[in-house]
Amino acid sequence: MTARSGLHPSDGRWITVGLGASLLIALGLPLIVALLWSFMDPATGWFAPDILPPSYALDHWEWAARNGDIAQALLLSVGIGLAVTALTALLALPTAYALAKLPFAMKRAVELFILAPLIVPGIIVAVGIGTIFFRLDLAFSIPGVILVQTVGTLPFMIRVLAATIEAIPNDLINAARSLGAGPAAVARHILIPLAWPGFVAGGLLTFISSFEEFEKTFIIGSPFVQTLPVILWGYLGGRVMVFPTAAVVTFILLVPMLIVFFLAERVLRDDVMAAGMGKL
């Protein structure tokens, strides 16, 4: 073997092989096992030492298709996700603009306060809000869940939007203003169209984090607001472990997420995503 310093292009294949093998074990294998569980035949079961199920059946998928709770949870999860995304974008835009374009006193303090929800564990936020929601009659309600999820999604959205708006040339805004455009017209004709990639990327990620959110939703909403993760919790945390059912719900939960995620991948550059999270 020759002594080499550093990785040369010819080593590229080895990186591909190494990464491919790791991904297969860490990502492919678990998903295949979950998929096998979802197609397990209840008539034969799938017990040790069988590596593969002895036979396959659609029973659990049929059960899920007939089960009204799951369809309802899916609809609810999507609805809450859309509401959280809309509310987050609406609240985030003005603040992102101020942070990106205006100098003002105590800017650093405002930035830190807006980031603060990221560094406080969600369970503390949820239990804290819970005490207020009891008084406001928002506990165990869908609006309550939307409000508590937005606390977690707002910091990231403001970050991504501020980064996008920062890149819009000031000249454009000033020109529009000097030609008589009011703040609303500037927002409608310049800011929103030019910051659109930020809205799309931030919006998709907000939707994802709402769709997968469990802890805050569970504490504020359960047992009355049953989103998909809350239902899955029921199948895993109970006395009887229901692997096949849990596997089916896992895929009902995962497939929409993966679709949205790969859409987000196309519009969101890594450095924007990293800048949104990696600088406190």
Binding site: L27, F47, T131
Partner: protein
């Protein structure tokens, strides 16, 4: 048309999200903080008391829970860091299929923690696939799910955290100007020296930010330790839930929340110290 002063405009623009967070984040935390001392508390007499902290530190299960929460914050974070750093370095190289890998490795980012817990169960629980594969070749797998060292929790948490850390670390490694590394190499530094003395220090703000966010996630996690963790000790997050919704003991819950927040703040301060000393040491180079 009269123009408003810029400060007023900025304040009005910050108001929607600032006010929202003040109302639904700041206020609850403040009330929890006061409530932990018995002030303005639900079901309390409203007088100042250290009773809840005495309860927290006087009960063995809660003391152990605090230590266990810290353990669940530190260990998965260190494990993830040990995987993420080489992964981020590897993904920065040129190799066939790079674009595909760059998208695929991020998949666990969008997998809910409960699903990660379910996957660990199917693979590592007694009778899980790992045991089925290893038993025939004579390897007896130790208990990994609901074990004393919370290995299952560590696996599930790290599985979710690795893409997150890799993304942030990769971002800060990518932001380093290539000239600096090349300059170091020209001056005789080996790739390893250049890595430890140039790339790691310059990427440290990203690395520490990733560390901090993963740490806080692990400390507050509720679902994964509840499903995969040992019966004893329970992390403080689980104690918080039980005391809030099953025992209605809100003062104690507030004290626990305040303790966990305090640890977060201490780690955050350590983070600011690290990044500031780096900025001083490297002048304007740290981005």
């Amino acid at each position: 048309m009269r123009r408003l002063p810029q400060g007023v405009v900025a304040a009005l623009l910050v108001l929607p999200s600032g006010g929202y967070l003040a109302l639904f984040f700041g206020l609850p935390l403040l009330l929890a903080f006061l409530g932990s001392f018995g002030l303005y508390a639900r079901g309390g007499d409203g007088g100042f008391t250290l009773r809840h902290y005495a309860d927290l530190f006087g009960t063995q299960a809660y003391r152990d829970g605090l230590v266990f929460s810290t353990y669940l914050a530190i260990v998965p974070t260190l494990v993830s860091l040990a995987i993420s750093l080489p992964l981020a370095m590897g993904l920065a190289q040129t190799f066939p299929g790079r674009k595909l890998f760059n998208a695929l490795y991020k998949v666990p980012l969008v997998v809910p923690g409960i699903v990660a817990a379910f996957i660990v169960m199917t693979l590592f629980d007694r009778g899980g696939l790992a045991a089925r594969l290893l038993t025939p070749i004579g390897i007896d797998l130790p208990k990994i799910v609901r074990d004393d060292w919370a290995v299952g929790v560590i696996i599930a948490t790290a599985w979710k955290a690795v893409p997150f850390m890799t993304l942030i670390i990769g971002g800060s490694l990518g932001a380093i100007q290539k000239d600096i590394i090349l300059a170091a190499r020209t001056l005789g530094a080996t790739p390893l020296t250049a890595f430890w003395r140039i790339q790691i220090p310059l990427a440290l703000p990203g690395i520490t930010a990733a560390f901090l966010l993963t740490f806080i996630g692990g400390m507050g996690a509720f679902a994964v330790p509840n499903l995969l963790g040992p019966v004893y000790p329970l992390p403080l997050s689980v104690h918080m839930y039980v005391n809030a919704f099953e025992r209605n003991n809100w003062g104690l819950v507030a004290a626990m929340g305040t303790m966990l927040s305090l640890i977060s703040v201490l780690v955050l301060l350590a983070y600011y110290r690290t990044t500031r000393s780096l900025r001083t040491a490297y002048g304007g180079e740290v981005r």
